[in-house]
Symmetry: C2
Subunit: 405 residues, 2 copies
């Protein structure tokens, strides 16, 4: 077989491989990045599907335009205006097959082999994968408690990466959020660069503590930022409906690339979703999710206080689905993982989120477990941590420590 | 803006641009490649959607595996066995977001810039687009009344293209079909090459005349062929569900590439489709479509005999959705198109289906127009043809004539 060079450097998602291990229902899994299925609006979607197929069956089942279902694009445009006062016309919004496709399309239209992409450190695995397939050369800027490290951002932007990929709200994997000042300062740096900010915001509406902050896009000229969003976390991921907003020149290229990639996103799924949005109160639905995730986050934070050794530092995120942990340098989270699987509890070791092999961090998902299972799982994981840490670290000297976010 | 080099050579689909012109319901359009929405199973899909969301709502709305819904993959596997005696296990079948995504994934895993891809001449536009985006260098082998020209195929295979892309049954755009002997001979040539056959078979089940012939894949070792299929023409395209079959090594790469492209195809759409297939008789449904398309094809063929000038030669396909026309060398079908649009009838000039600019051919779609509109549209188009041909050709000397298929 003669495969393309790009396939040489790409591994399958480590996380999706871990998910196979955790299919076993006996395993308490904090590994997935899954929203809670208990909060999917299945009945409302069923009504929406019935109405769409009764009223517009032939159109919902026919080929459709690449750009997406016009009323759905209008809905997204109106929501940006209502929430943030942002003027993003519907014609600058492209519906994508999940926001993962937005990453693929941006890579397709922007990257030649060896082009630089600036990532947050740690960074979102799906983006590392999508950009790797197009031969990206990665650089990184550390995340800290207030967001991206601005000195590092400034320095890296001087190297003229084509894209800076950022998840400024409740990032996957770290849960970190840029505060308002960091957003403004990052925008100012980007405004003076020729790098495009690819801002990914799947979790922004899932805030259960603190005050909402606008996307970085709000502080930037439209030419300098492509902003992505998704219905996966606020409605349901099985629809595979996300979007990307871009200025007209970039939008034109993205549409061309999408045409060649899958013609268009499922018209049936788009119309069902739009009918759901038209006939239900999305904000009320999001409020229910926020409440549930907030409770699960509190439960995990409290269980960690009781069961984890003090040296395992963890974040206390204000929203989203993830909590981030850092172990003393030299403690390998994959060793903890091996032990945890024996005890029937799973999480994601941090290594795949770093392009430099950092190994003393880990990610915990709290959205997809009940409080009871969170308590029991954290207790088991605490025992594993204590055992591995008591034995002393095993990592090679010189491995860079994970970040204390 | 600093775009990737690959975007330099890619135009938007000419056909999809034409479709915008033909949104006007006053225009009789033979331009689209659309199946007939009169024959979509909207009510059966509505029942399937209701059942899926009532019985398995949370699963249908959750993230799912990249490979696709397992029972759907089993269904496709069983159907290959029942129809052709082909052993294609479910684990060698990847569900894609329409078969257009199969083209994108194959290009991703196989092609580096400048790699050779062998196409049929004329060739499917969506494939030209998908491969162009990955920098393919095209060669071609002519289509004739019995299928691909075997001498040309043999010669081109000696140049070791990575992929030979073929639509052996009722091809888009030409409607041409390889006969059984051509399939066997083409398979023998491929067996002795190191080129992978990418066989695309969206129309194979839409035969209304003559005898069914097995896919070329049936005569080949699994390592030498990736076979694609689609539910777009036999169920409905708005679902965006196709598939690609491949031997394990290639399958592994395709799954990795799909993970980075859109994680997975809509689980809701996959489950609705599978429930539809489980609770309805697909073969009976296809028989209805076949009957309707056969009538429309007969109607178009007869109208052409009455209204087209004799020098405009057209095919009489045994299945599928398209009929192909060839004008005397020097007559530019785009000139006919301009005149036809004034008379409110549309078709697709042949140029975009050739990588060499051939301009005296055209494609007519018959699946998406009623017999009455076919009669009226062909009559108008015949007048345009007569007028343009009476004036004499306008094409530059030396343009290669379109094919008489």
């Amino acid at each position: 077989m003669r495969f393309s060079a790009r396939m040489g450097g790409v591994r399958r998602s480590y996380i999706r491989e871990i998910l196979k291990v955790t299919q076993n229902p006996e395993i308490i899994s904090f590994a997935g990045g899954l929203p809670s299925p208990d909060h999917f609006p299945a009945q409302a979607m069923a009504r929406a599907a019935a109405e769409v197929l009764a009223d517009n069956g032939p159109q919902a089942l026919q080929y459709a335009t690449t750009e997406g279902h016009p009323p759905l694009r209008e809905f997204i445009s109106r929501r940006y205006k209502a929430t943030w006062g942002l003027d993003i016309p519907a014609e600058n919004i492209l519906i994508t097959t999940g926001s993962q496709q937005g990453l693929d399309l941006m890579a397709k239209v922007m990257l030649d082999v060896g082009d630089a992409v600036l990532m947050e450190r740690p960074g979102y695995l799906g983006a590392i994968q999508a950009f790797s397939l197009f031969g990206a050369a990665f650089s990184t800027a550390d995340l800290g408690p207030r967001g991206v490290d601005l000195d590092q951002l400034e320095e890296r932007l001087r190297e003229r990466p084509k894209i800076f990929y950022a998840v400024p709200s409740f990032q996957n994997p770290s849960g970190a959020t840029y505060d308002a000042a960091t957003r403004r300062d990052a925008a100012r740096l980007l405004e003076n660069s020729d790098t495009i900010l690819l801002e990914d915001n799947p979790y922004g509406e899932l805030r259960f503590k603190g005050e909402d902050v606008p996307p970085v896009r709000a502080f930037l000229d439209q030419e300098r930022c492509a902003l992505m969003g998704s219905f996966s976390k606020i409605a349901s991921p099985g629809l595979r409906i996300g979007w990307i907003t871009a200025a007209p020149e970039l939008m034109h290229k993205l549409v061309t690339a999408k045409q060649a990639s899958d013609l268009h996103t499922s018209s049936l799924a788009q119309r069902i979703l739009y009918r759901f949005l038209e006939t239900n109160d999305l904000d009320a639905h999001i409020a229910v999710i926020r409440q549930a995730y907030g409770e699960r986050r509190d439960c995990m934070v409290e269980a960690i206080r009781r069961h984890f050794p003090e040296e395992a530092r963890t974040t206390e995120p204000e929203g989203g689905m993830f909590l981030w942990g850092t172990l003393p340098a030299g403690t390998d989270s994959e060793e903890v993982f091996a032990k945890a699987i024996e005890r029937k509890v799973a999480f994601v070791p941090g290594r795949p989120f770093f392009v430099d092999g950092t190994d003393n961090a880990f990610r915990l998902n709290f959205s997809n477990s009940t409080p009871e299972r969170i308590e029991e799982g954290i207790k088991r994981m605490g025992q594993c941590l204590k055992e591995v840490m008591a034995r002393g670290g095993s990592a090679p000297a010189g491995a860079e420590p994970g970040l204390d976010i």
